[in-house]
Amino acid sequence: MSNLILLCRRRVWLTAALLVVMVASAACQAVSREAALPGGQSAQGEPTTLVLASHDSFAIGEEVLAAFEAEHGVKVQVLTLGDAGAALNKIILSKDAPLADLFFGVDNTFLSRALAADIFEPYSSPLLEQIPDDLELDPQHRLLPVDYGFVNLNADSEWFAAAGIPLPQTLEDLTAPAYKGLFVTPNPATSSPGLAFLLATIDHFGEDGYLDFWQALKANDVLITDGWSEAYFEHFTVGSGGAGDRPLVLSYSTSPPADVVYATDGRTEPASVNLFLPGSAFRQVEFVGVLKGAAHPELAQRFVDFMLDAPFQSDIPLQMFVYPVNPNATLPELFTAFAQTPPEPVLFDPAAIEANREHWVQAWAEVMGQ
């Protein structure tokens, strides 16, 4: 019996020691394994790992990625860091100890913030020659354009036909009694398409006039949701599968083809159409850049080339539902048929956006929140 007690008493020691060892070894294992990741060829001859950081919407085709990995004998690891704003902020915060070799997903609304933080290494990719100049917003090539898209209104054409109401023709129409309670748009303070639309209205109505327009929209029962998902899936008549009651939504010019790609009834034409009201479509350009202090700067540059080249560019439309910047990319038929590009999109100066974002949004929130 006393032996047993002795054993038991010793077990407290053992348990304590075991716990410490367990926790420590787990931590060490995790640290050493992860430390090996960006650190190049390890002793066992595992391939180098190139780390790409991005926002949550990043997507890429399996075969396209595998081709790059095979060509360069590397493994590409993708890290996603939240929405576009959160992802960029995390990259800026990790400036001294970079999380990745390169970062994809800075858009023109965040371009100034990204450049001011001085986190990207300039790289004049030879492929830039193929890309239209008006998309290259950073002359020093620290950030290179990869894709672009348009934030604009979508309408449920069947709903309007059934109701016998013509589609709105101008932004001002949205404030007319006929369109009362029909429009839903995400909050510019928390959603990037929401911000894009706010910027479009600032461009169209001027800094002195945009708040009056929003005041009128509010009087006309516009619905503001927190994010794009809620606006599109809960309230838009098409996106919600009939449960919502708003036939006008702020979305993207590529949403109609997505509606066909992800249809459940085998439809070949979208139920929603693009509405290019003058001054309402905002152009978003997304950029990639090699991070300063990258573990594999050369490989990161190869990946930038790869992202600008035709195979990846042709993969973009149906993976991320945006347009490729490289005109040599092939567009899927759905895009050419239903994802029209607006005639005169709003091109906003990135520096003005970063300088005024907070007070424009605050002023807007004050008008809308009362």
């Binding site: 992860e34 085709g61 928390t190 809620e230 599968g241 979305s251 997505a258």
Partner: protein, 548 residues
């Protein structure tokens, strides 16, 4: 010398909190406070009426939400503690599901039920022939309060109900035999005994509502913002780290003062129970008891289960195909050959693995902490107690940025996920175990020690069986917290290791009915997996428990 192993054990929770909470938090606050214009911004913010409005709203909505949650939870806690009825175990597991559901999905479920075009409104409009929908809760404080109750009522049911089940019914019976009417028995016997557990559960609910983010943003519209929402705006939208740091500090200070009040109250109401003999729950004995049970369960079913059911039904009926498995099938297909495609089984496995790792971290640390806290007049305990709770009242955005700044190579490690989950789970484990640990009769331990039993043997044969019920409850919480990925957005995500909530968010990021349907289908799978996991945890019993 004999104290050394104990001290080593006791150091573990402190080390854990220091490394994974205090260090990253201080690192990011230093970045913010070290900003050029921190002093100027702080002075301006602290004197602005907007800040005080923000604090006031955050506090009263949390207090009101907590009060409502307690009111809604107590009757259910009572019924689960005292009565046996068919389907009890399953219902108990179902009631915890809301806890793990992503806010976006819950918001959609509530809209489907009580939104302007929701089920309830369309019925009422048809029956009463009304032109306008009679229930208009969208973007009102009522909806925020309702959803806070929906999310948190499981905390009251589980913690208070678990404690209630351990109360000795003899005290009540004695009081009644002495002629006390039921109300007086409740007021003078039951309530005082339950108070420590009610207070502990209320504190957890309060902290959750106090740092509420998604619910307020998604359901509150533009008119409502908590401190947490404002921290997010400042940190993410405007990248104003000095102001975000200031707000985080204010939030921490408030959390801290709430905890001081709590500790005072707790010390006043806490009492040791002697001669415990837990009651066995029994079938309702007469029509009044049956009426009570059935009535409460019907109300619960409508309030808590209807939104979940609405979600599940929509995952089979979205669009106009009638009943379809289309969305479940779509989850298993990868038509666009996306590199990060994960079939549901992979997402389920990943989620379960993270949850198991969270259990493995938080349960041992929780048990150790509880023994430390239960020591009379321990100075370490005085530090550990508030420290354990602080993560719940800390801004997730701030801590997430702290991880990025301070965690070095661990930042991208899959280990950080269960560690972050454990940080949130630990307060639950501790608050659930502590009342049970305090109620342990020390005389049993002393008797065993006199008879020569060693520390470990005493723990395993005396304490462990008596703590089993509380352990199972805390394990359920830890598991649920991990499955629901609390504060997941603060971590660096690895799309090559997708979890169930990650698949849901991915699907919600793209237009098209098929994506929405997949999000609903994966949410339904998440509900089922959660319910099954909780049922399994509740079945777990330590050997020897039956003897008590």
């Amino acid at each position: 010398m004999r104290r050394l192993p104990i001290l080593a054990l006791y150091a573990l929770p402190l080390i854990f909190l220091a490394v994974f909470y205090l260090y990253p938090l201080l690192a990011i606050l230093r970045v913010g406070v070290g900003g050029d214009d921190f002093a100027a911004q702080a002075a301006a913010a602290l004197t602005s009426a907007a800040l005080w409005r923000l604090l006031w709203f955050t506090t009263w909505q949390a207090a009101l939400s907590t009060a409502l949650t307690v009111l809604a939870g107590l009757p259910l806690a009572f019924i689960f503690a005292r009565f046996d009825f068919p389907g009890k175990r399953i219902l108990h597991a179902l009631l915890t599901i809301p806890f793990v559901m992503p806010t976006v999905v819950v918001a959609a479920a509530f809209m489907a039920l009580i939104g302007r075009t929701g089920l309830l409104n369309s019925w009422l409009q048809r029956w009463l022939a009304l032109a306008a929908p009679p229930i208009q809760l969208e973007q009102t404080i009522w909806l925020i309060l309702i959803v806070h109750v929906f999310y948190n009522v499981a905390i009251i049911i589980r913690t208070v109900g678990g404690f209630w089940g351990n109360l000795n019914p003899h005290l009540n019976e004695t009081a009644m035999a002495l002629g006390a009417p039921p109300w007086q028995v409740w007021r003078t016997v039951t309530l005082p005994l339950l108070l420590p557990s009610i207070l502990a559960a209320s504190l957890l609910v309060f902290l959750f509502c106090f740092t509420s983010f998604g619910v307020v943003l998604i359901l509150g519209g533009l008119r409502f913002a908590t401190i947490e929402v404002e921290i997010y705006r400042q940190a993410v939208s405007y990248f104003n780290l000095p102001l975000a740091a200031l707000l985080s500090i204010v939030q921490l200070a408030l959390t801290f003062s709430v905890m001081i009040v709590y500790t005072r109250l707790q010390a006043r109401v806490s009492r040791q129970l002697r001669g415990r003999r837990p009651a066995r729950s029994q079938r309702p004995r007469n029509w009044r008891q049956w009426g009570l049970v059935i009535g409460a369960l019907v109300v619960t079913a409508v309030g808590l289960l209807a939104p979940l059911l609405a979600l599940a039904v929509r995952s089979f009926t979205l669009g106009d195909q009638g009943v379809t498995l289309l969305y479940y099938q779509a989850l298993t297909e990868n038509p666009r050959q996306s590199a990060f495609f994960a079939p549901p089984i992979t997402a389920i496995t990943n989620s379960l693995l993270y949850a198991l790792a969270t259990l493995a971290i938080s349960l041992p640390l929780g048990v150790i902490s509880v023994y430390m806290l239960a020591q009379p007049r321990s100075r370490t305990a005085a530090v550990l107690d508030p420290l354990l709770l602080l993560p719940l009242g800390t801004s997730a955005v701030t801590l997430g940025f702290g991880y990025i700044v301070a965690m070095g190579p661990l930042r991208t490690s899959p280990w950080l996920t269960p560690i972050a989950h454990a940080l949130i789970a630990l307060p639950f484990v501790v608050r659930t175990l502590l009342p049970a640990r305090r109620a342990l009769d020390q005389r049993l331990q002393m008797a065993a020690a006199t008879l020569g039993a060693g520390a470990w043997q005493r723990w395993w044969t005396i304490d462990a069986p008596l703590l089993t019920r509380a352990l199972a409850i805390s394990a359920a919480f830890a598991f649920a917290i991990s499955l629901g990925e609390f504060g997941a957005t603060l971590l660096v995500a690895r799309p090559d290791r997708p979890t169930m909530p990650m698949v849901i968010y991915q699907a919600l990021g793209r237009p098209g009915l098929l994506n929405y349907g997949q999000a609903l289908a994966m949410s339904t799978i998440l509900m089922v997996v959660t319910a099954l996991a909780l049922l399994a945890i509740e079945r777990f019993r330590l050997p020897g428990e039956e003897e008590f």
